[in-house]
Structures are given as structure tokens and as C-alpha cells.
Amino acid sequence: MTTIALPTRFAVGSNRLATAGAVILGLVVLFCLAGPLAYHSDQVHTALDAARLSPGQQGHPLGTDDLGYDVLGRLMVAGRTSLAIGVLAGLLATAIGAVWGALAGYAGGWLDAVLMRIVDTGVAIPALFLLLVAATLVTPSIPVLSLVIGGVSWLVPARLMRAEAATLRERDFVKAITVMGAGRLRVVFGHLLPNAVGTLVVAGTFQIADAILLVAYVSFLGLGVPPPATDWGAMLSKSITYTYDGAWWLILPPGIAIVLVVCAINFVGDGLRDAFAARGRA
């Protein structure tokens, strides 16, 4: 049996984009975490007497918003929230999805059918509706929002993992170890999940990116963390007002921050996918 053994080819640039993504991500994280150490601004108390200042006025490089918060400092504080929720929610969604999908894919039969119909149902209900209801049931905070967003976005990883598990289940090593007496838990946790790690890491990366977007949506709709805490989406929630006030540039810092971070994470995810695909082929 002959196969042409070609060395793995990366898509030109995918690797470079991934590196660029990682660098951008690192810089943004540094900006959000270490930024406030170097650049001090009061992000707890309003300052109505210093509201709506243009960039550069009174020592505010990016100006102030309509309650007098320094925009540059706010960008850092907001970024912490966005990133924290994004990462936590993304990981949670991936974890739930992984176990759910692995169970469905490995068990097959009626359990698979039941579990996947639940996923179908979840997909058919708009996530925004669930978030809206959730926000009225509980007071938003970083852990709560992470739970809620993770809780509504595990469906995609669950489907991915199910497909992966259904494939893995047919692999000889799983059959062999099952025949020789391995139990379901051992197979799922000892073999299926470790083998799906590549898929999961990639899915997790994309989940984090998507979660950051979802947090932005939620906050944009006013269902985010209560003030004075904020996040990038919340900074944009008054954007329409800003544009009518002629302060349209106020929407750029948080808007660009979201796009930049989500983009960077996606680049990294794509790079990881290629890397895992390469390892799988080796």
C-alpha cells in the first residue's frame, strides 16, 4: 500500500498570522492588566464636572465620557472584564460541550438522540433571548455572566465533540480497549477526550473569541456588569448618543479593541488548528 508521503504544508501566512495574533493578544492583555499600574485614573468615582472632555483636555489623552470617566483608563478596566468573561465563558462552554458531545458521540443510540435533540433545541432558541431572561433572574457579575454566556454557547463545541467522538469511537484503539474490558468512563475520559484535545483547544480558542463578542452584545444591550465596572461592550452602549453628539471618535477605542482581540484570537486559533492538523498527519 503506497501513499505519497508529502511533508506538511502550512498555508503561507497562517503561521505568521498566528504569531501576529499571539503578539497582539499579549500586548492587549499587558495593556489591560499592567496599564493601570503605569497610567492612573479614577474608574470608580464619577466626575460630572469633567464630563465629555475632548481628547487631550485636562490630561485625558482620549478625553472623558459623559460621566467624566477617563476613556483611556476605562479602556483598560473594561478590557479586564471583557477578557475575563470571554476566557471563563469560552472555557466553560468548551468544557460542557466536550463532555456532552463525548457522551453523546460515544454512547450513540437513544442517549445520543436525546442529548443532541437538546442541543438542536438550544440552537433554535436565540441566545439573546436566553441572556435577556437570565439577566432579569440574576444580577450580572463576572462569574455570573461567564456562567450564563458559557451556558448558552456550549452547543457548538458539543456538536463538534460529538462528531469527533463518533469518529474516535470507531477507531481501533477504542474498540480494542473496550473489548478488553475498559468501562465507559475510562474510554470517554481516558481516550476520547485526550484525543479530541486538538479539536477542543481550537474550538476553545474560537469559543473565547465568540464569548468576547457575546459579552459585548450583552453589555451593549445594557445587561452587562453593573457600573462602575464596565467592559468594552458597555463602553459602546452609549455610542449612538456619542455619534449624535459629534463625539463619534469615542466609539473607536472600545470598538477597535474588540475587533483587535477577537481577530487576534481567531488568528491564534487558526494557527493552532493547522499545527494540530500537522501533528495528526505526522
Binding site: 503506497t2 508521503a5 508529502l6 481501533d172 484503539f173 468501562g183 485526550p194 484525543n195 505526522a282
Partner: protein, 525 residues
């Protein structure tokens, strides 16, 4: 006059050299075989001949097809050359055909591509029918309307050959054209290739790993190893008098029927595996139909059959992976309980998927011990080392993972895992089919030694009669889900009673051109 002339071909990907200074010519009406094991670079040669190598390949040397220099041809010249001067037949007829187009579309396209005035595809229907009839497709006009997935493997390969010869090329490049086919179908395809050569005078470059196929059809042979030709000779000369050590080694590794003496086996009254009247249905179709089979303690039973004969399904019944619709499965005189599984070992066909790529060799071999025993870590480690020795693997591999091993090494690890608890029954489903012959021989040696050491009963599933003859004492032949014949190897494989067994035996090519000619005469008679 030669239809293909390759001089001093070198192909490399980065630093990896695939082909290293290969020269070969194929004349009209000649069948030249390029034989070698995996990684020898033989497929690269075929692709290079039509300029089909990926951009990343670095190519040196000259390639001339029908007098045209392939390496200097422009894109359009190359396109014209492909199909008209040389047709190509690939190994996997399923993936090599476009699943969304009818056979007619795909055959007609091959004609149309070289029609100076291309017309709509349906204008070529008559020619397509002729072509399909030429390659022996029954009901040609009906088949034209069908899609690849509606055809059997053999018919797909015939359709591919029809595509290859559609524009009347002087050369056919056949890359492992029969590897994925059953022996009986393989025989038909080889006959077809020979017939095309005889009638159309086409030259053929046949790429294969199977020395039996070479002996059957080739006029001349080049033996390839690591991209280099180690020996070139006429077929008869090569088999009669191999000059290079590697060629000799290859030939020696090929199992042959009758090479292994069979002792009289005592009748056994106990069984480790007893399948009684097993019937399995998929979607209302009987895949296994009333098969009874037993394996005694220490007995080595072969189960042979072509694809779709139900042999793997039967094995899965024994393993509890498939629940039969009718009949009983009896393992160690009872049901297949968790306790019984401790005494059961299993080896599968595909070395690529037989090991968990996230586990080290040591973890893999030790896993059954973790499941069934409470042995200490040190004890497990000692046992794993013993087994590494038993399957002839160096201890250095203990911390490697599956994908860092070769195919043969992986199957050895699989064997070690299967026998780590000293099983009473081993079920081996085509454990060597995916391996090169030399590796296969070594793995079979290991298997036999383990059998002697542990004395397990074994159900050995294979499509290769010679392999079965080599390791088994008793054999059962399956066809279409039914048991055709069973008995001692000495009887069934040497003096078969059933016509199907006989046909099977005749269809398996042997690496001996003279014998192969005799057999062919017998088969056509």
C-alpha cells in the same frame, strides 16, 4: 520506440529525497513494473511522469512521454499530453472519481478534453458505451447514467481504466491499480490491463508492492528502495535469479501456500470460542447467515474471505461489538462478561488507528493490567518490559507515542497489549494486511512465538490465503456471509472441495512467473 523515457529522475521535498536518480523506459506493448515497499518513491515517479507533482516538489532529470519533454512543456502542452499520450489509473477508485458526476460525464470529459472541436458531453455517449464495453463493464449504457457510489470497486476501477484509455494514449500509468480490490477482482483487472496491452499495443508502467502481481503481468521489473533502483531485470530472470540482496529478501518474505508443514491436530472437546448459527442483519440484509465456528484452547483458526464476506462482522460478534440477530456466542463456555474479557486479547488491522496517539507505548501495553488487576506500578513496568522483549521492540521505545512508531512497530505494540494479561483467546482481524511484506513476515514470526509461549486459542482473520496457511492449523472460508468450507489447512488450502475456495486459491497471484502462467491457464480453462 519508447512511450516513456525517464532519465536520472530526482525528486525531493525540501531536504527529503523521494526519488534518487531513477531511469526507466517503457516501450510500446511493454508492461514494466516498478516494485517497492512503502516510502520507496514509486508513486512519485508516476506523478512526475505527467507533471502532477505538487509545487513544493523539486524535480531534476528528464522525462519524455511520447517524445515530448514533460518538464519543459507549457501548461497547455501538458494538458494536451495528459490523457492523450498517457492515461493514468489510480489506487482508490472511489475517491479518484468525482462523486457528483455520472460515469458518462467523467468518461465523456476524458474524450472531450482532446477533441479539437469539443461538443456537449452527450454527443460522446456512443463512444462512452464502447469504452465501457471495452473495459468489460456489463450493461454499459445503464452504468453510464450511474454515479460512482452506485458501482462496485471493481466496476469503478474499470471505469477509471476506461477514462485512462479514452483518448487512446500510448502509455498507461497504473499506480497500485488493484491494491484495494479483492483477489478475484484483482485478477480480472490484471487480465484487462494485459488485454489492452495485447490489443492496443499500449505500454504500461505498473506501480505495485505485490510481487505476485508483478509475476503475473510484468515483462520487466525495477525494484525500488528508498528512491533508488536496486535491480532491473526481465520478470522471469528476476524471480528465477534475484541478484540483489534486497530483492532476495523481499521474495523470501512473501508467504507462499504449502511452505509450512501442518501437523495432525488433535480433536478438541473444549472450546475457548464457540459461535453457533450466528446471523447478523444490517438494514434487513443478512451480512452473516447461520455461521457456526469454534476455536479450541491453543488452536489457531483462520477465517478467510473477500470483502463483504462477513468475516469482520463475525469477529465483532465474538468480541461483543455487534449483537447477532440469531445464534449464540460462547466465550470460555459462557457469556462475554467483564471477567471473561480479562482472558481475551484483540489486534486490529489498521496500524494507524490501533494505538491511542496520546498514550505512550508503556501506557498502552499496561492499560489492560490497570483495568483488570491491582498490580503495582513497578510490577506493571516489569511486565511491560518483558513483553517488549517478547515482541522484539527495543526498550527505548517505551516512552514514545503511537505516531512516532512505524506500522510494524505499532502492530507489535498492539500484540503486546493483547497478550499482556496472558489471554486464552486472541482475536486478530487482518493484523498484517496493511504492512509491507518484509514487515508482515516479521510480525507473523512474533505472533507465532507468542502463540507458542502463551498457548492461546486464536481466531485469525485474513484475506490472504498464504498468510493463513502459514500460521493457522484450521481454516474456515466465508463467502457472502455463509460458511463455504472449513477444515484443517492441509486439506482446505491444498485440496479444496468447494469451487469458491478453488477460485480464491487460483486468483491469488504467486511470486513465480512460470507458476503464475500455469495457474492462469487453469483459471481461464
Amino acid at each position: 520506440m519508447s512511450v516513456l523515457e525517464i532519465t536520472d529522475l530526482r525528486v525531493s521535498y525540501g531536504t527529503a529525497v523521494a526519488v534518487d536518480g531513477l531511469s526507466v523506459t517503457v516501450a510500446r506493448g511493454e508492461i514494466v513494473a516498478l516494485v517497492g515497499e512503502s516510502g520507496s518513491g514509486k508513486s512519485t515517479v508516476a506523478l512526475a511522469a505527467l507533471g502532477l507533482l505538487p509545487r513544493s516538489a523539486h524535480v531534476d532529470g528528464t522525462i519524455t512521454v511520447a517524445g515530448k519533454n514533460v518538464r519543459e512543456a507549457t501548461g497547455e502542452e501538458l494538458r494536451q499530453l495528459r490523457g492523450r499520450d498517457a492515461g493514468m489509473v489510480f489506487q482508490e477508485p472511489m475517491t479518484a472519481l468525482n462523486p457528483l458526476h455520472t460515469i458518462e460525464f467523467q468518461v465523456a470529459e476524458a474524450i472531450r478534453n482532446h477533441d479539437p472541436e469539443p461538443r456537449r458531453h452527450k454527443h460522446y455517449r456512443d463512444r462512452c458505451v464502447q469504452l465501457l464495453e471495452r473495459v468489460g463493464v456489463p450493461d454499459a449504457s445503464k452504468r453510464l447514467k450511474q454515479y460512482p457510489h452506485q458501482l462496485s470497486g471493481g466496476l469503478r476501477q474499470r471505469a477509471l481504466i476506461a477514462i485512462a484509455i479514452a483518448a487512446g494514449p500510448g502509455l498507461i500509468l497504473a499506480d497500485e491499480p488493484t491494491t484495494s480490490l479483492d483477489v478475484t477482482v484483482q485478477q480480472q483487472i490484471l487480465d484487462l490491463l494485459r488485454d489492452i496491452r495485447d490489443t492496443e499495443g499500449t505500454g504500461t508502467l505498473l506501480i505495485t508492492h505485490n510481487l505476485g502481481v508483478v509475476a503475473d503481468i510484468a515483462d520487466r521489473v525495477l525494484v525500488l528502495r528508498n528512491g533508488k533502483v536496486v535491480e532491473e531485470a526481465d520478470t522471469d530472470a528476476l524471480f528465477a535469479n534475484p541478484r540483489h540482496a534486497y530483492t532476495r529478501q523481499l521474495l523470501a518474505a512473501v508467504p507462499r501456500l504449502g511452505d509450512t508443514p501442518h501437523d495432525e491436530e488433535p480433536e478438541r472437546d473444549r472450546t475457548v470460542l464457540a459461535l453457533r448459527d450466528i446471523t447478523v442483519e444490517y438494514h434487513g440484509r443478512k451480512v452473516v447467515d447461520g455461521v457456526s465456528l469454534s476455536v479450541g484452547p491453543g488452536e489457531f483458526v483462520g477465517l478467510v474471505g473477500e470483502s463483504g464476506s462477513g468475516k469482520t462482522t463475525l469477529a465483532q460478534c465474538a468480541l461483543g461489538l455487534v449483537t447477532p440477530r440469531g445464534g449464540t456466542v460462547d466465550v470460555f463456555g459462557g457469556k462475554l462478561t467483564h471477567k471473561a474479557r480479562r482472558r481475551l486479547g484483540v489486534v486490529f488491522q489498521d496500524p494507524a488507528s490501533s494505538l491511542d496517539p496520546t498514550k505512550t507505548v508503556e501506557q498502552t501495553i499496561a492499560e489492560p493490567m490497570v483495568i483488570h488487576t491491582r498490580t503495582s506500578r513497578a510490577e506493571r513496568r516489569r511486565r511491560v518490559r518483558e513483553l517488549m522483549d517478547a515482541v522484539e521492540l527495543p526498550q527505548a521505545l517505551l516512552d514514545r507515542r503511537g505516531h512516532e512508531l512505524s506500522g510494524g512497530q505499532r502492530q507489535r505494540v498492539g500484540l503486546a497489549r493483547a497478550v499482556v494479561l496472558g489471554p486464552d483467546l486472541l482475536i486478530a482481524d487482518e493484523p498484517t494486511s496493511a504492512l509491507d511484506v518484509s514487515v508482515q513476515a516479521a510480525v507473523l514470526d512474533v505472533l507465532e512465538r507468542l502463540h507458542q509461549e502463551f498457548g492461546f486459542g486464536c481466531l485469525f482473520i485474513s484475506h490472504d490465503l498464504a498468510v493463513v496457511d502459514r500460521v493457522c492449523s484450521r481454516v474456515a472460508v466465508l463467502r457472502g456471509g455463509q460458511l463455504v468450507e472449513q477444515g484443517p489447512c492441509a486439506t482446505v488450502l491444498h485440496t479444496p472441495e468447494h469451487p469458491y475456495t478453488r477460485a480464491l486459491l487460483l486468483a491469488s497471484p504467486v511470486p513465480d512467473p512460470a507458476a503464475q502462467r500455469d495457474r492462469r491457464r487453469l483459471a481461464t480453462a
